[in-house]
Every structure is written in structure tokens, then in C-alpha cells.
């Protein structure tokens, strides 16, 4: 069976045989870096075209259809345009912070990628606190957004950044609590362990109603945390023109744009890992033959399939719902989602202690 695990071990063994360990490690760094950047570029292109096609499909129109077959190269053309554009820095802006902000947002998005398991035995960093690492690092991106909003010296940007700050800090709590409710079941923060614990069924189906509740809360909260509609208050086109990145142009804008899509990918990957079994094929208890058939589908296809399904869900939200108002947004979190997820966590703990899950 085709597996990426053999590939990685092959490369690692060869490097370790040929070079001294220090040099081999260096080569591994380079390979991983190149792969991560390549994945980023590919994801950016794919997700942008996907969003536009999904939007077009929902809005009864065709979407981009001129560049390449069925418009598939549209986002490549857009990238070329954005690279060619001048990256303006406004006069009154704090130049250092203004130019730093997009890179912070981008770097955070890149760092979060490290512990995610893309396929069986195929991850950059098998760290034992994987989930904790992800939630810790992803909260740094709010600094980049606040920095962008403040340093632009623009009132719209400032308002957008303040909204974004309030929003991301509050919704992180719900994300954390719903992630925690799965951790309670697995007893491990290691992403690999979490995936392996779903060998005989995904947590979404195994752990009764609390898991479904926390999945729904997770999806709502990550939509808010990535500043996507209906929670895109920090951009809020009709209110704040473009929110925190009003003053950005060219590639600096593109970095924010790309980081948004990478963040969506990452939160969906986390969601897929926690609730839908990551790269684990669809298994049902002890139906041996069924499970065996499912195993024939390569694990990376399972991972990307689940992730893109969740991404599609989030895109679907964006093109269906109107935007919330800022006070309603915070009410939703503090008055509804947070108490519900707290109670849900207790219920989940009960399920875990009593062993009620399958």
C-alpha cells in the first residue's frame, strides 16, 4: 500500500547514512522548509480558487473562467499581479511596525503547521504537546493584526483591529474548551496519539452528544477566530471598507490574505484531527472487512478530504449569512458559547470517566 511514511524514513535513513548527523539534520530542515513553503503557496492558490468557485456556485454564476482551463490559473495570475504592485507605506504610518505586521501574521500561520499530521507518519514535528502548541501559537496572530491596525494610522484600520482583538481573544476560549473536551477523552495532547485513539471510529460519532456539541461550537468559534464571515467584523467591508488591512497593498496585503486562508486550513485540519480522525480512515468498531477496504484509500487523501470538507463548510457560511454586529458577536461568545462549552466539558468528563463512549 502506498504510504508517505516509507518515503520519509527512506529519505531520513539515506541522509543519516551519507552525512554526519548535524549536516543531515540541516538538510532535513531545508527539505522541510521548502516543503512547507511549497505547501503554503499551493494552499493559497487552491483555496482562493476554491473560494471563488464555491461562491460562484452558491451565487448562481460561473466564477473565474478565463485564465487556464475553467479558470484554474486565475489565482496564479492574481499572485503575479500582486507581486508586481507597489507595496505602499502611508506617510503617517509607523513604518517599522507597518511592514512587520504582515510577516508576523504569516509566520504565525507557518509555525502552527508544524505538529499537524498530514498522513500516517508524515508530520514535521511529532511533539507531545501538539494541541497545546497549536492553540498557544495561533493566539499570537492577534498581535500582528493589532499591530497592522495601529500602525496604519487610519481610523478604519484601528477600529477593525480593536474589533479583531476583542473577537479573537474571546473566541479562543471556546476553541480551547471544545478542544479540551476531546483531550479529556484521549488523555494525550500529542496529535498522533489523538489520531490513533480514533482507530475504531471518529470521536464525533463515538462520544455521543457532547462531542457533537463541541464540534459545532468548535466550527463556530474557529470561523470567528479566523475572522471569516459571518464574523468578519475586523474586515467588515460595508462598515470599515477593509478593516485592519485598509492601507495595505501589493504583496503585503497578499500576505494577510494568504495568512487568512492558511489559518482556515489549519483550524480545519485541527478540527478534522480532533473530531474526524485526522488521517485515520473511516472505521466502524470491529467491522474488519469494511475497515480493511477503507484502509486502501491512502491516509493523506483522508486527511485532505476531511479538511477540505470543513473548509467548504466555512466557505458555505460566508456566502450564506449576513454579518453579526459587534456587541452581538461578543454576546454570542460570552453569554452562549462559553457557558455551553463549559457545561459540555463537564459532561464530556463524565462520559470519559464512566467510559460511556464507544
Amino acid at each position: 500500500m502506498f504510504s508517505l511514511e516509507s518515503l520519509t524514513t527512506l529519505v531520513q535513513d539515506w541522509l543519516n547514512k551519507t552525512f554526519p548527523p548535524a549536516i543531515a539534520l540541516l538538510f532535513e530542515f531545508v527539505i522541510v522548509g521548502v516543503l512547507a513553503i511549497a505547501l503554503f503557496a499551493a494552499l493559497g492558490l487552491v483555496l482562493v480558487i476554491m473560494e471563488r468557485k464555491v461562491a460562484a456556485w452558491i451565487q448562481i454564476r460561473l466564477g473565474p473562467n478565463r485564465v487556464g482551463p475553467k479558470g484554474m490559473f486565475q489565482s496564479a495570475a492574481d499572485t503575479v499581479k500582486l507581486i508586481m504592485k507597489e507595496g505602499l507605506t502611508p506617510d503617517g504610518a509607523d513604518k517599522f511596525l507597518f511592514n512587520l505586521a504582515p510577516f508576523i501574521v504569516m509566520m504565525v500561520a507557518m509555525l502552527v503547521l508544524a505538529p499537524i499530521g498530514f498522513a500516517k507518519g508524515f508530520h514535521i514535528w511529532d511533539i507531545n504537546i501538539g494541541v497545546l502548541y497549536v492553540s498557544a501559537i495561533s493566539s499570537v496572530s492577534v498581535i500582528g493584526i493589532l499591530m497592522a491596525g495601529w500602525s496604519s494610522n487610519n481610523k478604519y484600520s484601528l477600529l477593525g483591529a480593536m474589533r479583531s482583538g476583542a473577537q479573537m481573544v474571546s473566541y479562543e476560549l471556546s476553541v480551547g474548551l471544545s478542544v479540551l473536551s476531546i483531550i479529556v477523552l484521549t488523555g494525550s495532547l500529542n496529535i498522533n496519539d489523538i489520531v490513533l485513539s480514533q482507530q475504531n471510529g471518529w470521536w464525533l460519532f463515538k462520544a455521543h452528544i457532547p462531542a457533537i456539541i463541541s464540534f459545532v461550537i468548535f466550527i463556530i468559534a474557529v470561523t470567528a477566530e479566523t475572522n471569516r464571515a459571518p464574523f468578519d467584523l475586523s474586515e467588515a467591508e460595508s462598515e470599515l471598507t477593509a478593516g485592519f488591512h485598509t492601507e495595505y497593498s501589493g504583496m503585503k496585503f497578499a500576505l494577510f490574505f494568504l495568512a487568512e486562508y492558511i489559518n482556515i486550513f489549519i483550524v480545519c485540519a485541527i478540527g478534522a484531527t480532533l473530531f474526524l480522525g485526522g488521517w485515520m480512515p473511516f472505521h466502524i468498531g470491529n467491522w474488519e472487512s469494511f475497515n480493511h477496504v477503507m484502509d486502501y484509500i491512502p491516509t493523506f487523501l483522508w486527511f485532505f478530504g476531511k479538511t477540505f470538507f470543513l473548509i467548504f463548510l466555512i466557505m458555505w457560511f460566508r456566502w450564506t449569512f449576513p454579518r453579526l454586529r459587534v456587541d452581538q458577536l461578543l454576546n454570542l461568545e460570552w453569554k452562549y458559547l462559553l457557558p455551553i462549552s463549559m457545561v459540555n466539558l463537564i459532561m464530556m468528563t463524565l462520559v470519559a470517566i464512566k467510559g460511556w463512549h464507544f
Binding site: 461562491a55 452558491i58 451565487q59 448562481i60 454564476r61 481610523k155 478604519y156 477600529l159 474589533r163 464571515a229 459571518p230 468578519d232 467588515a236 467591508e237 460595508s238 462598515e239 470599515l240 471598507t241 456566502w319 450564506t320 449569512f321 449576513p322 454579518r323 453579526l324 454586529r325 459587534v326 456587541d327 452581538q328
Partner: protein, 371 residues
């Protein structure tokens, strides 16, 4: 904080919304004073698209000046032309053939639906939902096709002339309209499913931008915006022109006075317009489409006033004639201008999002305000 609202103080955030801004739908300039997200004051600045249409009309003949008015409220071009034509006819004392009257009413109501469709899409877009815009345009397109066929233009139609309409209906007109009616009835439920019933939408609209009945009257608000506050002000009912008094339709009134009431008035008004079209489409009388008029029109000395109900409210046309071929003075009482005046009143104390939502339900067309 509540007592501070309405007063500005040192340290308030003052933001220019517009003249180029996605939510003002044109070149409206609002200077808003904010305390955090709370709006303390909204000050509209006008004049960015002032083309002095009223002054231009003074140097144009009674046939020519009507074409300028299509560019005022470009979403109800027919109704603007209609108002002007009616005023000139009043001055001349012409009797309009019945066929022309029916055609005019049909066109008015089609325009009203098209205008409300665009408003519905644009307002949903103001609230951050992009998809309704395309759904609204799907139906609006077929109205535009009807207009294109009969009037030769899709947006700034110049179809109504003193004495009737410019040319006869296209032979395809009735079929097209019937196809549109069928399409509309198939699709209208999507409007409620996609937007009206949405919990986020209702939370954004209900209790927001409250305009009391008294305030609506004192600000001179007309049209659906006033009818959402329970003010009966439908000119088609109160001062019927053409054949409106023979038609069976309702004046839509809601009493809540909030943004949602104004929204519902427009949605229900579209159904009333459909009802009017259905009554007329099979009963277009035969005959002339234009009364015989002189080549050069001269209004007798005096003052003439006529009001009609556009998609946005009451449009009044006031002509002062010295007896020549051109008007001495023309004044348009445009609905948008009066409706805009209540914006500060209804948005004070709300959030920025409320301002956008309330502005959306007032349905402002900026060239109508500036003229």
C-alpha cells in the same frame, strides 16, 4: 454614556464615511462622531454629485427636460418621467388615452419591483451577505430585458412623454411580463428563506433604527420608510393619479418603525405591485398610446404641482411657467433628501453596524438627493 449622545466632546473619534465608501452606494459623505463603536452624531454632507438638474431644466423645453429627470433617481426613471409628464399635462390640460395610462402604470410598477429588488440585494450586502445580491439581480434582469425591448434602455429610460408614452408596446411585452410573473412567484420564497428568516438578519434589524410616527412626519419621511412607522402616505392611494383609483391594491403599513418594519414594507410592496401588474397585463385597452399634442408645448402662465409615489417615496414636481416654451423655475421634491434627514435621528446611540443597516433600509439613491 446615554446622556453624552448627541454632544461631541474632546477625544471623540470622527470618521468620514464616504464620499467613497461601499455602504453609501454612491457619493454620500457622512461625518460620524464615535465613542468607541457607539455613534454620537451623524452629519451628512451633500453635493458630491450635484449636477444642477433643476437649473438645467429651466433652459430646456417641456419635452426635453423630462430626459434629465431619468438621471435623478435612476432606479425609478419611469416614475420620475411620469411625474414630469403628469405636471406638463396638467398645465396643458391634455386628456391621456386610456392605453397610455395603463402602459404607464404597468411600467411604474415594474420599475418599483426592479428598484425594490436592487434595494433588497444591496441592503443584504450592507449587512455582509453577498449572495442575495445575485438572487435579486436574477429577477431584476428579466425586468430590465422587458424595459430594453419596449423602451430601448435598461436603466435610464425616457419612455414617458407629455401626452402618453413615446412608442407603443413591443409585441412581445405581454409574454415577457407573464414569464417574469411566473419566475418571480417561483423565486420569491427564496428571499424569505435566505434573508428574512435568518436569525442573524433579524437580530441586526429588529429594534434598530427606530423612527416613531411623529418623527417620521416631522422629518418629512415618505414612502416605505414612513409606512414602516405606520404613516399612511401612499400617494397612489391618497391622491390617485392615472388609473390607480380603479385598481385593487393595498397600502402596506407596519407599525414597529424599526429597520425590520421598513424591510417588510418593501418586500410586501413588491407583492402588491405584482398584483397590480396581474390586473392590468391582460386588460391593456386598444387605442392610441399618445394624445395628439402640439409640436411646441407652451404651458400657460402659472404654477403647477404634481406628486407621484416613486419606489422611495413622494416625488413632487413643481413648475412655474411664464407662458414660454421653457419653464421659469422647476423644483423637485425628492424623497431621498427628506428620508436622509432622519438618518441622524435614527442612528444616534447605535453601533456602526446599525448605521449601515438603518441607512440600507432608508434606500437612499444619492443622485436623487443631490440632483
Amino acid at each position: 454614556m446615554v446622556e453624552e449622545i448627541g454632544k461631541t466632546a474632546e477625544g471623540d473619534l470622527i470618521i468620514n464615511v464616504g464620499p467613497q465608501h461601499p455602504a453609501t452606494h454612491g457619493v454620500l459623505h457622512l461625518v460620524i462622531t464615535l465613542n468607541g463603536e457607539t455613534i454620537k452624531k451623524v452629519e451628512p454632507h451633500l453635493g458630491y454629485i450635484h449636477r444642477s438638474i433643476e437649473k438645467m431644466c429651466e433652459s430646456l423645453t417641456y419635452r426635453q427636460f423630462i430626459y434629465c429627470t431619468s438621471r435623478m433617481d435612476y432606479l425609478s426613471a419611469h416614475i420620475n418621467n411620469h411625474a414630469c409628464a403628469l405636471t406638463v399635462e396638467k398645465g396643458l390640460g391634455i386628456e391621456i388615452p386610456e392605453r397610455a395610462q395603463v402602459i404607464r402604470v404597468l411600467m411604474d410598477e415594474l420599475t418599483r419591483i426592479a428598484s425594490h429588488e436592487l434595494w433588497w440585494g444591496a441592503m443584504a450586502m450592507d449587512l455582509g451577505a453577498f449572495t442575495p445580491f445575485f438572487h435579486a439581480f436574477r429577477e431584476r434582469e428579466s425586468i430590465n430585458d422587458i424595459m430594453e425591448e419596449t423602451c430601448g434602455a435598461r436603466l435610464t429610460m425616457n419612455y414617458m412623454v407629455p401626452g402618453g408614452v413615446m412608442m407603443d408596446l413591443h409585441p412581445n411585452f405581454q409574454n415577457r411580463v407573464k414569464t417574469f410573473l411566473k419566475l418571480y412567484k417561483q423565486k420569491i420564497h427564496e428571499y424569505d428563506e435566505l434573508v428574512t428568516g435568518n436569525i442573524i438578519f433579524q437580530n441586526r434589524m429588529k429594534g434598530v433604527g427606530y423612527l416613531s410616527k411623529e418623527a417620521a412626519i416631522s422629518y418629512g419621511v415618505t414612502g416605505p420608510a414612513a409606512r414602516g412607522s405606520g404613516v399612511s402616505c401612499d400617494i397612489r392611494k391618497l391622491y390617485p393619479y392615472e388609473i390607480y383609483n380603479q385598481l385593487d391594491f393595498q397600502e402596506i403599513l407596519e407599525t414597529e418603525g424599526d429597520s425590520f418594519a421598513r424591510y417588510m414594507v418593501r418586500l410586501r410592496e413588491m407583492n402588491e405591485s405584482i398584483k397590480i401588474i396581474e390586473q392590468l397585463i391582460d386588460n391593456i385597452p386598444e387605442g392610441d398610446f399618445q394624445a395628439k399634442t402640439k409640436a411646441v408645448l407652451k404651458l400657460p402662465k402659472g404654477e403647477f404641482y404634481q406628486r407621484v409615489e416613486t419606489a422611495r417615496g413622494e416625488l413632487g414636481v413643481y413648475i412655474v411657467s411664464e407662458g414660454g416654451t421653457t419653464p421659469y423655475r422647476i423644483k423637485f421634491r425628492s424623497p431621498g433628501f427628506s428620508n436622509l434627514s432622519c438618518l441622524d435621528h435614527i442612528t444616534r446611540g447605535g453601533k456602526i453596524g446599525d448605521l449601515i443597516a438603518s441607512m440600507g433600509t432608508l434606500d437612499l439613491v444619492i443622485p436623487d438627493i443631490d440632483r
